[in-house]
């Protein structure tokens, strides 16, 4: 097993392994032959031009594609050595372990408390004390507790955009996932809110595996430990061009296409 030392943690080796992964929407191939080992306790950024399949890849990691009619997969994605597409995998359990934060903050139109308690309740946590503990610890982990502790009963929709996104992160944390997927989590936020989310990601990376899709190259450079560059091939199928440590990718990429993309010469 590959050993990593990110964020001062003894990492568990490759947390997620995509092997010979092909993905289709009907007859259209969206991803071709992806082989990618994602380390635990680290932040992996996926970058690439629009349409290169980076979001499709991210959504495969907790089987969001199951919801898309006509989609088809070849190859495997292993989470801790277990193929997530195996028949015996419980998708609800998978999505609890692999949470997702979306581009636009999407709190439920209910109170802050209930937003966080919703997931744990679905997973069988009923006791009020237990739920209160989960809400508090999740909001603390998401660096939102101090700002909302006195108004937990208020509607989550009254929070600012940046607070709403941290609430969504707290909601993901409330069900104790191991992996957090983030699809352009800061694209709807102002620079200060963005930096707060990035700080939060760095803190969370000590205990969680984070995979972020971003169009913001500087964000990928600032926040991630490893970076994967995807690109669209002539037939529009997305493929992995280069994968490596973020510092290497942004200072000395091996592939000219990566260089051209990150220096803004195409894309």
């Amino acid at each position: 097993m590959t050993e990593y030392n990110f964020n001062g943690q003894n990492c568990r080796g490759d947390k997620i392994k995509a092997k010979n992964l092909n993905f289709y929407y009907g007859s259209f191939q969206a991803l071709r032959d992806i082989n990618l080992d994602i380390p635990g306790c680290a932040i992996t950024a996926i970058i690439g031009p629009s349409g290169c399949g980076k979001s499709s890849f991210l959504r495969l990691l907790n089987r969001m594609n199951d919801l898309i009619y006509g989609s088809r997969i070849e190859g495997t994605i292993e989470l801790d050595g277990k193929n997530i597409f195996d028949r015996d995998v419980d998708v609800v359990e998978l999505r609890k372990n692999v949470g997702m934060v979306f581009q636009k903050p999407n709190p439920f139109p209910i109170s802050i408390f209930d937003n966080i308690a919703f997931g744990p309740k679905q997973h069988g946590k009923k006791s009020k004390i237990e739920l209160e503990e989960i809400v508090e610890s999740s909001l603390k982990k998401a660096a939102l507790w101090d700002e909302v502790k006195d108004k937990l009963g208020q509607s989550a929709l009254a929070l600012s955009g940046g607070q709403q996104q941290r609430l969504c992160i707290a909601r993901v944390l409330s069900v104790e996932p191991e992996v957090i997927l983030m699809d352009e989590p800061c694209s709807a936020l102002d620079p200060m809110a963005t930096l707060k989310i990035e700080d939060l990601m760095r803190t969370l990376a000590k205990n969680y595996t984070i995979i972020i899709v971003t169009h913001n190259m500087q964000q990928a450079a600032r926040v991630s430990d490893t970076t994967a560059f995807f690109m669209m091939e002539p037939d529009r199928a997305g493929s992995l061009v280069e994968y490596g440590s973020t510092s290497e990718i942004f200072t000395n990429p091996k592939d000219k296409r990566t260089e051209d993309y990150i220096t803004g010469r195409f894309g």
Binding site: M217, Q218, A221, F250, T251, N252, P253, T258, E259, I262, T263, G264, R265, F266
Partner: protein, 222 residues
């Protein structure tokens, strides 16, 4: 269609500026040796005051680099180029200082006759300025092999310095009254030797721009 036209234009402008500064420094070395050979105090004084122009050019280019970093967030090869330019600027500015240093030695020498006609010191200067020109050519062409070849030429300058040192030492041993004059010429030769070392540093930066690898290749004997 070229993307990032403005950024590319500004980066090219910085590269052109390096060439301009490089030729200013080269001219300074050539002129300082002319002043030394001819013991021309006026030229030496002019050169000492012109060193400020080289320094000003350095700050002007440095400011352009800082603005480009702050506003364009260069990455990968672009980032390596700009960071290396900042280093190359320092090296060029120092070579300019060495030329000014030789001019100060000319002022110290004044009207005193040289111990012998200067042959090897001008050869050192020719070698060093040729290395400098080749290094700037390698910079513009982004050619790591050319840069490595320039680094290898530093040995020639070192050998000439050895020769100058040995010869002047002989003068001093034979007649201690020559010590002051001989020492001044050794200082001038040493300035040239250091200039060539600075050129090898420039070449190491060029190799970094091209390969992304930091290599120390120009280990001098001095």
């Amino acid at each position: 269609m070229e993307i990032r036209t403005d950024f590319n234009r500004r980066l090219r402008e910085i590269q052109d500026d390096i060439l301009i500064m490089g030729s200013m420094v080269e001219a300074a070395i050539i002129t300082s040796i002319k002043a030394l050979k001819e013991r021309d105090i006026d030229i030496a004084k002019q050169l000492i005051s012109d060193d400020a122009l080289i320094n000003r050019k350095r700050f002007e280019i440095e400011e352009k680099c800082i603005k480009l970093i702050a506003t364009q967030q260069p990455l990968a090869g672009d980032l390596r180029t700009i960071i290396s330019v900042l280093n190359i600027l320092t090296e060029l500015e120092r070579i300019g200082d060495y030329a000014a240093g030789i001019s100060k030695i000319v002022l110290m020498i004044g009207n005193e006759e040289h111990l012998k006609p200067l042959i090897d010191i001008p050869r050192m200067a020719d070698k060093t300025t040729l290395m400098l020109r080749k290094s700037l050519d390698a910079f513009i062409k982004q050619d790591a092999d050319k840069a490595r070849a320039v680094i290898a030429e530093d040995d020639d300058v070192d050998n000439l310095y050895d020769q100058v040192f040995r010869e002047l030492l002989t003068f001093m041993i034979e007649d201690p009254r020559t010590i002051t004059r001989a020492t001044r010429l050794i200082w001038a030769a040493h300035n040239l030797e250091r200039s060539a070392d600075r050129v090898t540093n420039i070449c190491e930066r060029i190799i970094y721009i091209v390969t992304g690898k930091m290599e120390e290749l120009g280990a001098s004997n001095y």
